[in-house]
């Protein structure tokens, strides 16, 4: 039982470290959120499962509150991340310039014909350039080429 609890704790620590490293190293808001939301939730899930097994083995708790914590964590973390992502997009924070596709931009421009069909190769969706407060001042005219290392956001 101690091996099981230790395994869950170390797995949870691995996922928490992955999430913190992704939060530190990734390039824009959306990818940072992609890193933290999933892996941090999974890391805390491992630790709560370890607490559940520990409390059940020690006879201290029935495990109801651990299960409830896990349920609320899995319920609230994606909703909060979704609201922050929508706020960030609507307030005009630009995507990373090295990104490939921005489906929301095509949807807002009305150039997306059918969302279930892939985009035709004649007019690929260009990387987004939203005029945000953090926008680089000058757009080079050949902005649809691959960006150099200085043009990359942050």
């Amino acid at each position: 039982m101690e091996l099981l609890i230790s395994g869950f704790l170390l797995a949870g620590l691995f996922f928490l470290l992955t999430g913190a490293l992704g939060l530190l190293r990734l390039k824009d808001v959306y990818s940072r959120m992609h890193a933290t939301t999933k892996s941090t939730t999974l890391g805390v899930a491992g630790m709560v499962l370890a607490a559940l097994f520990s409390m059940r083995a020690l006879g201290l708790s029935s495990g109801l509150k651990e299960t409830l914590t896990l349920f609320f964590l899995f319920l609230t973390a994606p909703v909060g991340a979704h609201m922050i992502a929508r706020t960030a997009y609507r307030s005009g924070i630009p995507l990373w310039k090295g990104g490939v596709i921005d489906e929301m931009k095509a949807w807002q421009d009305g150039t997306l014909d059918d969302p279930n069909q892939p985009a035709s190769p004649a007019d690929p969706v260009s990387p987004v350039d939203i005029d945000g407060p953090q926008e680089a001042p000058a757009q080079s005219p050949d902005s649809d080429q691959m960006p150099s290392e200085e043009e990359v956001y942050l």
């Binding site: 999430g19 939060l23 805390v44 020690l58």
Partner: protein
């Protein structure tokens, strides 16, 4: 064995909190800081749970449950505030 593992995991969680605090300090936009602070809160929930295992007290799980719900509340409040300038405005978003 459990004592050593929980001590190691608590040190690792403090490293995670330090990395997230650095991102909250340097974060170029406000949603970056919100995400980093939310990540710090989730790490604190994990630290409380690990400390509950270490101290063999089931009481701390209640604190972890409450902090989880408060974290969601603060995230939604900050999202609404950044989007519309108010928190309670009667609209759905």
């Amino acid at each position: 064995m459990i004592n050593a593992v929980t001590l190691f995991v608590l040190f690792g969680i403090s490293v995670c909190i330090a990395l997230s605090a650095y991102r909250a300090f340097i974060g170029p936009t406000i949603p970056d800081r919100v995400i980093a602070l939310d990540n710090i809160t989730t790490n604190i929930v994990a630290a409380i749970v690990v400390f509950a295992i270490r101290a063999e007290q089931a009481m701390y799980i209640d604190a972890a449950l409450v902090i989880t719900l408060l974290s969601f509340l603060t995230t939604v409040s900050l999202a609404k505030y950044l989007l519309s300038g108010t928190v309670i405005d009667g609209t759905a978003y």
